[in-house]
């Protein structure tokens, strides 16, 4: 089974559950293959959790779900050392982070203290407790969701935390036809429970290694840098894209190229991914009249900026 076949298999598998959202599924797979973490931001009930669930189900991997609440503590997700009477020693009890795919549901409902306990896990794929460092499983992916409609009692994610997510996705409402298909399905069970795993963890690791080998041409690199540069100079934004953001865009573009069965990047890859990868890393300049929902605003600004950057021919 070559890479394109396995990727198609994975996407088709998820598409059985998430109807009519092939683009979102594709981006989720891109994020997985680029060793990134995914932030899904949308109103409740459009399938955020289902997406994460079905992605995890489609892989022969462990999956944990953490419901973030305001009283959640870092030890609740990282794990805790417990005194073992028999051994007369502390013993580390791993938390729910020790899984391949972790769903952090409503991540903005918990305190910044707990939120930041995710930082090390997300960037270094390891956890330090009591001077002990424990490596996490590979592949490791955090899928976080948050609800933009309601902000009461939430702790918005700080920029540093946001920067660790490779991309931020919106799912959006399905079309009426697709919604009908969802409704016609038998409602007794969670649809994701029926999914059979199609790929193993080793498959994913192989694919992730292949992403590294995707070729990105010099002029494309210039194009990417020009996009990053333009976000830093724009009047509409008070904070531009960081170097980590540029790196993320490169990784994501390579991953998308592989998903689309190519061994080289195209300008499309970069241009298409830029809103998803960059929009949560910038801060809108409120003085320039940014209003309404900031997610859509930011994506709109990135879109506009992309139209000012010449594509290499």
């Amino acid at each position: 089974m070559n890479s394109s076949q396995s990727i198609n298999l994975l996407q088709d598998n998820i598409a059985q559950v998430i109807k009519g959202k092939s683009r979102v599924i594709e981006l989720a797979v891109v994020c997985l293959l680029a060793r990134g973490h995914l932030l899904i931001e949308d109103v409740p009930g459009v399938g955020k959790t289902t997406l994460a669930h079905s992605l995890a189900r489609s892989l022969d991997c462990s999956f944990k779900r953490i419901q973030f609440t305001s009283d959640l503590l870092p030890s609740d997700i990282v794990g805790i050392s417990v005194f073992n009477r028999q051994k007369q020693a502390f013993e580390f009890m791993p938390g729910p982070l020790f899984a391949h795919i972790v769903l952090a549901d409503e991540i903005n409902r918990t305190t910044p203290k707990t939120q930041s306990s995710l930082l090390e896990a997300m960037s270094e794929a390891q956890i330090s407790v009591d001077n002990q460092t424990y490596p996490l499983h590979q592949p490791f992916m955090v899928i976080a969701t948050q609800n933009p409609a309601e902000y009461h009692g939430t702790f918005p994610l700080p920029e540093s935390q946001l920067d660790r997510f490779l991309m931020r996705l919106r799912i959006g409402y399905p079309t009426p036809d697709e919604e009908r298909k969802v409704l016609e399905r038998p409602q007794s069970l969670h649809p994701a429970n029926d999914l059979q795993p199609v790929l193993t963890a080793q498959h994913i690791l192989d694919l992730q290694a292949q992403v590294e080998k995707v070729r990105i041409e010099d002029s494309l690199m210039d194009y990417l840098l020009a996009i990053v540069q333009v976000t830093r100079q724009s009047d509409m934004l008070s904070l531009g894209v960081s170097t980590r953001g540029a790196l993320a865009l490169t990784k994501a573009a390579k991953s998308l190229a592989l998903v689309r069965d190519r061994t080289y990047c195209l300008p499309e890859d970069i241009k298409e991914l830029a809103p998803a990868v960059l929009s949560h890393r910038v801060m809108l300049n409120r003085a320039q009249g940014a209003r309404g929902r900031s997610v859509e605003q930011a994506e709109g600004v990135i879109h506009d900026l992309l139209e000012s950057v010449p594509v290499p021919v």
């Binding site: 499309e268 000012s308 594509v311 021919v313």
Partner: protein, 746 residues
Amino acid sequence: MLLDQAFRLSSILLAAAGFASLTLAITLPPWLLVLAGGAFAMALLRVRHPGVISDTMRHFRLSALTWNIFLVLAFAGFWVDLLLISQEVLPAGIHFLVLLLVNKLSNLDLRRDFLHLYAISLIALLASAALTTQIWYAPFFFIYLVIGVWTLLLYHLLQEQEELAEPQQGHTQAAPSTAPLPRLTARFFWTTNAMAASAFGITLLFFFLIPRVGVGFFQNNHGENLRTTGFSEHVDLGVMGPVKQDPSIVMRVELPERTGRNSKWEPLYLRGVAYNRYDGKSWSNSLPHRRMLTELPEDTFTLRTSGTKPAPTARQLRQDILLEPLDTTVLFGTPFPTSVKGHFLSLQSDLMGSLYLPVPLHTRTQYTVYSSPTTLHATEKKSAALLYPDFILQQYLQVPAVNEQVLELARQITQPATSIAQAVALLHTHLLTHYRYNLDVPSLESPHPLEDFLLTRKTGYCEHYATAMVVMLRSVGIPARLVTGFLATEWNEFGGYYTVRQRDAHAWVEVYFPQSGWITMDPTPPSPDAVGPTWWQSANSAMDSVRLQWDRMFVHYSAHDQFTAVQGIREGGEAVRTGLSETLSALSAQGVAIVSHMVISLTPSGLPHFAIALVLALAAVYGGIAILRRLRNRTTQHSPFSTQQQTVIALYNAMLQCCAQQGITKPVSATSVEFLEQIRTRWGEAWPLVDSVTRLYTHVRFGEAALTDEALATAEAQVRTLRLLGRSTADSQPPSREPVMPSLTR
């Protein structure tokens, strides 16, 4: 005839016209003629039968490297020619030019080559113009003009067309062009020729009609009745009245041999006419006899005036004078001119050393005067009595019937004098100190102007002062005469010359001393209202110097000046040549010495010297090749794209142009896939072609995949089909041209 063919033909004919004028102007060596003739023949053949010749000639065509070597050899040959064979710049340069022409004729591939060809042919035409003045040049010039108009027209037509369909030219060999180039009709041919000829005619008309006189026809202001200061050949004291200061410029005087800043403000007396008879009211010349001056050598007039005795050792003062047209035949110069250089038909002088032209000048004239100034001899400063020649006594002691009081005054003033020189000085200082200079004399017709000035009014201007001094000098027995001319006081710092205006017209006195000659004395005190230079004046003088340069460089630029310039270039070239040959011979001697020394010192016993020399020569050749190779590598690495990538980019651009002709342009920020989407919605029938080309393009351009010949041929065919498709839709129905923004996936 096809447009392209006509263009090539006219380009070659243009070069041929330039070359033909060259061959008639200078005898070229036969081998060069044969070479150039061959190149022309080949070029013409390639125009007439492009296919046949290019097929047969492909094997014989020399590579670019060979041509470069040829050029380098030609350049080396130029120096050898200059230093050893023809030993002159012009022939050597022309030989080199012909070799360049041969090179360009054989390599007419790019637009650039054609431009080079035109430049070469233009230089050839100019060079032959420099070499000849014969009549046969005219037809060649005319032919060159007509063909030149042709060539430029065709050049632009072709360029326009190629901008519309760029890739066609590069790939015509792959498949016959489906879109025929427009043909030239006879009507077009004749219209263009008529246009060229009429342009030539109009130019000729202007050439003959444009006035070549140094003064504007329409700017003479006649009817000025007010008395103005200025020079006139009559000195009339009888009519008095306020005098207007006329600031118009009369002449500009340069003193090229006088350097140093101290001398610049020293006033300069420019002598015009001298008078010896005073009748109580006006001055006149009783010696009207004039002598023609000998003109030897050409344009140089020498004169010896009786009464002036320039010391042979005296330093000659040179003045370059640019004289504006003046209503007088008098020519000016500092006292006393010994020779005059200028383009005059003839020149006359009277017995008092004044210079006259046969007719008044009506153009601005440049001439040079060499004068030897006179100074009072040391022996004559003290002597109480001098022995004057009879001629002087006859002519310069006449005194009119004047009031006795004037004579009495003169005697009074000179009484304390112990020598003649002192008497002159006393009179001079008396006039300077006791009288007031004033141009605003009340209008009055006086029967005795001199008495009025000296005894009653005591104010007047230069003519009064000078007349008074001459009359008083003569009354005490000292020969003197009145001189009119200009007193140059205005120094133009920017141009380094004196500006002389009408208001600088002046009258002064010359006193005779037997040994020293005529000594210039000026009894007029300086004008009291003289002010220092203001910014306005300095700006004016800067402007005036610019005007002078313009006049010199453009209005009066003549064949003579051109000749001088060419002569200068030639002499410069000669100097360079001799200098170069000297350094070269010195260098080569040294080089030979060093090499032979090296050879001898390196040679082990038994090996012949030439073996070592051979090894050295081979090493030098190898080194040269290595450097060349490295240079070439550097240039190829310079482009970030491989040739295949460049090919595919060009192809993609050609496809974009086809789409642009349909009104579908790709925004710079749109990617190729976004553009493809746009094509699908707006020009559906072209979509498969564009899709296929775009695939190949992205594959090779970004994927750096190898570009196979079949793939390229297919894509080229697709682009061509696309162009045809565009034409057919353009013919059948107007395409939708509403601007559609690219639909972006959000």
